[in-house]
Amino acid sequence: MLSKWIRTIFAYAVMAFTVAISTFPILWIIMSSFKTNKEILGDPFSLPVSIDFSAYLDVLQNYNFATYFLNSLMIAGIATLLALFIYALAAYVFAKFDFRLKSALYILFTVTLLVPGHAKAQPIFSLIMDMDLYDTKTALVLVYTSFGLALALFILRATFMTVPKDLDEAALIDGAGFWRIFWSVNLPLVRSGLATAGILMFLSYWNEYFYALILTTGAANRTLPVALAFFDEAFSYNYTRMFAALTLVVLPGIIIYLLVQEQVQKSVASTGIKG
């Protein structure tokens, strides 16, 4: 009986530890973003004396964070929509038709997941230079779109396969063409797959740092994660401002995740990938 007690206590201790290490760092920076620099230096554990949004306004108005925020939103948003469109087309064909080299092609497309993304940085950098797209939002949209290949195909093919073939045949008899059967019959029925793949891709694009760092240079096309690193170098001793900037980068992802928790967890569990 004693060992059962010990086991229960151990289990809850591990659970408490897990929750603490997952939330405490974020709660700490959010809390600190409302404190003055002096309060932060005085005691890093104290609660803010008053709730004051001035650091946020400062960061958004005087340090271009509104621009970076919009850049991130635009780039991640457009790349997600473009990726969903391109890979839904391919996934549909992979799920519903037979053609030569089908399984070889599908394996080739999905095995790309296993190539470390950073390893092909130089060729992609040169490709973007050759297309004359260096330091543009288009460059990041294209590169990010390509990142979704394996993940989106994987999720979308599986969801297209759940749409019964009878529906396609019925539509065909009613005179619907290839495009109509795809767009009006199948696509509305795979909304959950589109949502899951879209959320995972959007989160990873929103958070991406490495390619945004090497493919942009000016402030005009800078995304939030890159801006954050610049900001750190320039203002490392104004902690309040730094924590407000960090919160602005971190919070949108957390909010999106909290809204669609179940979907994210399920797809991560079954695919082992988070984008």
Partner: protein
């Protein structure tokens, strides 16, 4: 079997994805492999120099040797402690103790935010003036605790490790998923045979989730091969070059227009990834059916 019109549609539906594959995967990967054997700065045409880039990587200074040492240690920690912790949490949550959904939900949070932001948060957590670690140590009585995490060895190595060590939610989710898929009658049969809870865990559940654990090891070791932000935004490879790794060398190669050199480092990253996958597949016999 399809008419030509349908065949045309199929081709058209595949074309954009195929273009992405060729432009952003096939050509770049081939370029990485081939130009790893050339001297190339982006302006000259690549000049074949055999294994010189690789010789330079291994012998020029000790940075690459240190990078390999770090990768080896980080991979070992990832495969044991990191995967072990994720698996432990999965086995605990599998019993559905009160609050298990909350734990599963919050464990995911560090994984949905930017690694760049996460690395910087940890830079502040380990900061000497305002950081919570050092202040906590000073508050509980070690009044001159001033470890310069990220700036001195071996503290820097552990500080970088700490930014990812416990965040094993992916491992936890795939192991939990496999645990929940074990048919109920297997457990019932074992309990009827008089097995106790520990025996069920050790001799039934653990072997039946070994594929998930293998996948978890592959995923976490390959993320260590590609780890960039956790180093670039904290220690930048320092102090000296003690926390250097291969992605950081590759990044420097691009910034310094030493493309052939960068791609030699890229080739090694890709090959290491493949080797890890093959090895774990073998060790865990991941191709066999379990039940």
């Amino acid at each position: 079997m399809y008419n030509w019109k349908t065949k045309l549609w199929i081709a058209a539906f595949l074309a954009p994805a195929l273009a992405v594959f060729v432009l952003f995967y096939l050509v770049p990967i081939v370029t990485v492999f081939v130009t790893g054997f050339t001297k190339w700065n982006g302006f000259n045409s690549p000049e074949f120099i055999g294994f010189d880039n690789y010789i330079k990587l291994f012998t020029y200074n000790n940075t690459f040797a240190i990078s390999l040492r770090n990768l080896f240690l980080w991979s070992l920690i990832a495969a044991t402690l990191h995967v072990g912790f994720g698996t432990l949490v999965a086995f605990i949550l599998f019993k559905r103790p009160c609050g298990w959904r909350l734990v599963r939900g919050t464990f995911m949070i560090p994984n949905v935010i930017s690694v760049a932001a996460w690395a910087m948060i940890y830079k502040f957590i380990f900061n000497d003036d305002i950081g919570i670690i050092n202040n906590f140590m000073r508050n509980i009585g070690f009044s001159d605790f001033h470890v310069k995490w990220f700036y001195e060895m071996p503290a820097a190595f552990f500080a970088v490790t700490f930014t990812w060590l416990f965040y094993a939610v992916i491992v936890m989710l795939i192991v939990l998923n496999d645990l929940m898929a074990i048919p109920k009658d297997i457990h019932e049969a074992a309990l009827l045979d008089g097995a106790n809870e520990w025996q069920v865990t050790r001799y039934i559940n653990l072997p039946l989730v070994k594929k998930a654990i293998g996948t978890g090891i592959i995923l976490s070791v390959t993320s260590r091969i590609a780890m960039f932000e956790e180093v670039a935004l904290t220690t930048r490879g320092g102090p000296g070059n003690e926390t250097y790794n291969i992605p950081l060398m590759l990044y420097n190669g691009i910034v310094n227009s030493e493309y052939g050199y960068a791609n030699a480092a890229g080739t090694i990253m890709i090959l290491l990834g493949v080797a890890v996958m093959a090895l774990i597949n073998r060790l865990f016999r991941m191709n066999e059916r379990l039940y």
